[in-house]
Symmetry: C2
Subunit: 307 residues, 2 copies
């Protein structure tokens, strides 16, 4: 096999009570990449469609993660990468993670899978770091492993795959505004009240238990974030109206995807997820702000080979 075409899924990180540690993988929404073995050694970004991103390997997240892999693998060949970008950079659903993870996933396939998914995540973190200015894996690991993933720690890298209830659907709205990552980070407090932290870890423990027990009611009771959301939601116009409408339409929970501006809702069943979409659409269509929306299942496979 000298060429592979892959699907690189979008992901939701900072899942409510799981700030910085919990993410899940989206179905249908993602980039495509073609990776081609070349006789010339090195990594070459040969095509980028969809969004304007750097072609220089060292400045492109897919390039940097690929370089990390080949530095270790030292293959007797090189790779060309074509990126068909569909996830808008800065939308909050893991655009850079899809690229960073896609290149290493694809190259690993072409090399006959010398690396496991955890090591691929490690390589991908090198690429993700140039986009987000720090190493984190809560978009990368769900993109690579699929389903719900708890990133227990970065150093050492500890990735835990959690069960994904069958009937869980996601509704995402992406308001077309720009939130600078630096701003989204600067707005967070360095210190938080102990009592709120206790509530947060009770909720995360409960959410993990709920995923294991297939308990949708408990998922709903656990999907709260009293720590980050009150700050970051200020950067997203009409966040509180969207959340109210989503919950009223039957969503199990609703919070900020990544550092925003996208907002995700989780629902039991596709019908409710679509009702939630309609309800949020009704709120946002009156705001004058452009937006995209979609409904999809949780993707339990992660990266997929298209051909």
């Amino acid at each position: 096999m000298n060429e592979i075409k892959i699907f690189c899924p979008g992901t939701v990180s900072n899942v409510a009570c799981g700030f910085d540690v919990l993410g899940f993988c989206l179905d249908k929404v993602g980039d495509e990449m073609i990776i081609r073995r070349t006789s010339k050694k090195g990594i070459y970004i040969t095509k980028i469609e969809g969004y304007d991103l750097p072609y220089e390997t060292e400045k492109n997240v897919a390039g940097v993660s690929a370089l990390a892999l080949i530095e270790d693998a030292k293959p007797d060949c090189g790779f060309e990468i074509e990126i068909y970008k569909k996830i808008k950079p800065g939308s909050g659903i893991g655009s850079s993670a899809a690229s960073a993870a896609g290149s290493v996933f694809g190259i690993n396939e072409l090399l006959g899978r010398p690396y496991n998914k955890k090591i691929l995540t490690y390589f991908a973190m090198k690429g993700e770091a140039i986009a987000s200015k720090c190493e984190h894996a809560d978009n990368l690991a769900p993109a690579i492993f699929g389903g719900f993933v708890l990133v227990k720690s970065i150093t050492p890298l500890e990735i835990l795959q959690l069960p994904t209830p069958d009937d869980l659907y996601v509704t995402v709205i992406h308001p077309q505004i720009e939130i600078k990552t630096a701003e989204a980070r600067a707005i967070l407090p360095k210190e938080i009240p102990l009592q709120k932290a206790i509530t947060q870890w009770a909720n995360l423990g409960s959410l993990v238990h709920a995923l294991h027990s297939n308990d949708y009611d408990l998922i709903s009771k656990s999907l709260h974030d009293e720590i980050i959301e009150p700050y970051r939601s200020q950067l997203i116009p009409h966040f509180s109206d969207v959340k109210k409408a989503a919950l009223k339409a039957g969503a199990l929970g609703c919070s900020i995807s990544g550092s925003g501006p996208s907002i995700f809702s989780l629902s039991k069943g596709i019908k409710t997820a679509k009702d939630v979409e309609v309800a949020i659409n009704n709120i946002y269509k009156t705001t004058g702000i452009e937006f995209d929306m979609f409904v999809c299942k949780i993707n339990t496979e992660g990266m997929k080979i298209i051909s």
Copy 2:
């Protein structure tokens, strides 16, 4: 049935990363109580052996929780309570919780079980509150339900029973010093660093996953507390030596039980738990401080009827 004799187990709360929300139940270590139906209405503490505790119903935790139950149940009789106290008050392994939970558990049995375990926990909280000056349930719920219990919230009361791996054993040392609850509480910070809180909720999420997956290695990696333990361990002489010795002897983790002074270690298998006991004993026997120690299994039943 007019009389019942029950076993009221000790419990470990504040299980490392699960401060204020996670507890588990001890086997073999606990009080005994005899509860007897009387024609005279009301709750009467008729005997207390072991430790000096108040006989006035309204000042005794077992009395107060029993009053909360009969206020709701309005039975056409009263109850005498005999308390054979074996868990030393203030030891940090749920002495007051054993009493508060025991009386309502026993009365509920004599009344033909009108209440479920969650409601019994609710009544017991009324008794526990007079001992600890605030309502909490992370000793009560494990005493009543058995096993590992996550108290997701107090208002409303949400109790989650977690799986207990079969081969999990506890080693407890109780140094005979007094830690005032007020002091143990006053020493805690009101605000904590966000980064440490993130580590804590990652660890608790991971611990819940580990209990579901029977993953002892992950239990070990998750049993950390960077938030409370650094403060409260200062009140327990030689804590850090005990912890080092326990981990060196093979314990999965070691932290403060409740608000101390007891220290618990969890181990895989009774042999390791006993090795841990020896290692801790070697540390403490040179200190001149009196202490008790025991090794037991996790009790997955909770309260038990003896006769």
